[in-house]
């Protein structure tokens, strides 16, 4: 885009009389054309960036014939993850337990996003839908280095679809035996 600058000129026509008009200045600059030059940019995605975070490259955008180029801006779009759900700096995950695991406890570990294991073992009863928070196992917080959000683990208990007569009797026997459990 070439914008001719219109300059305001004040002219005196006679005593006490002025005329103002605009003039276009300079038409002697060498001509330019847009050429496309291949280039590779390194875009640094920093830990803890969020949906909509901007990565700005100064003066790498649309060029301007008579001025500086605009900026080139990369906008982070977060793709959904199979296991983890992100809520700001916190992560949420759902873990399914069997009825026995929910009653007597379990030994389990989660693979985190960088591959390290998070021990979520528990040796007591877990209620269906119960949520446990693992502090410091969430997303990195971008503006404070080394700080992390929390990991919220929600437990889903898979109940048996149906019980046979024999299983029903066994559970009833247990219930009679341990009335106060």
């Amino acid at each position: 885009m070439v914008l001719a600058r219109l300059q305001m000129v004040t002219r005196q026509l006679g005593p006490g009389m002025f005329q103002q008009f605009t003039t276009t200045e300079c038409s002697q600059c060498p001509n330019v054309e847009v050429r496309e030059v291949p280039e590779t940019l390194e875009v640094h995605v920093e830990p803890g960036m969020k949906m909509g975070s901007l990565i700005r490259f100064r003066e790498e955008g649309e060029p301007h014939a008579d001025g500086t180029s605009g900026d080139l801006v990369f906008k982070v779009v977060e793709l959904p993850h199979a296991n983890f759900k992100r809520d700001d700096d916190n992560l949420h995950i759902s873990v399914t337990l069997t009825l026995a695991e929910a009653l007597v406890g379990f030994r389990k570990a989660l693979h985190h996003l960088d591959g390290h294991l998070v021990d979520i073992s528990w040796d007591a009863v877990t209620s269906p839908g119960e949520e446990r928070v693992f502090a410091g196992e969430g997303m990195p917080i971008r503006d404070s280095w080394g700080d992390y959000g929390d990991l919220h683990v929600q437990f889903v208990v898979r109940f048996p679809a149906q019980l046979s007569a024999q299983q029903k009797r066994a559970v009833t026997d247990l219930d009679l035996k341990y009335k106060d459990w």
Partner: protein
Amino acid sequence: MKGDEVVVDVFVTLEDLYNGQELLVHREKATFQETAGTRECNCQQKVRDSRAPPPTAALRASTSHTGRSTSRLRASGVA
């Protein structure tokens, strides 16, 4: 004056956002390069001074008949 901002979406996984990632982006960068000829630009500012045009023939004629001062007449004639 500044050119327009170019906004591009980058799609990143949650792993990338947890660990940090370096993405290589290839592009065809639009650049201005000199070619033959000239163009209109705004790199120079000049104030040009021009003289007021001389009084019209009619004005001059009336001046000679009435014999009034030229400067006064010119002022009223143009207005």
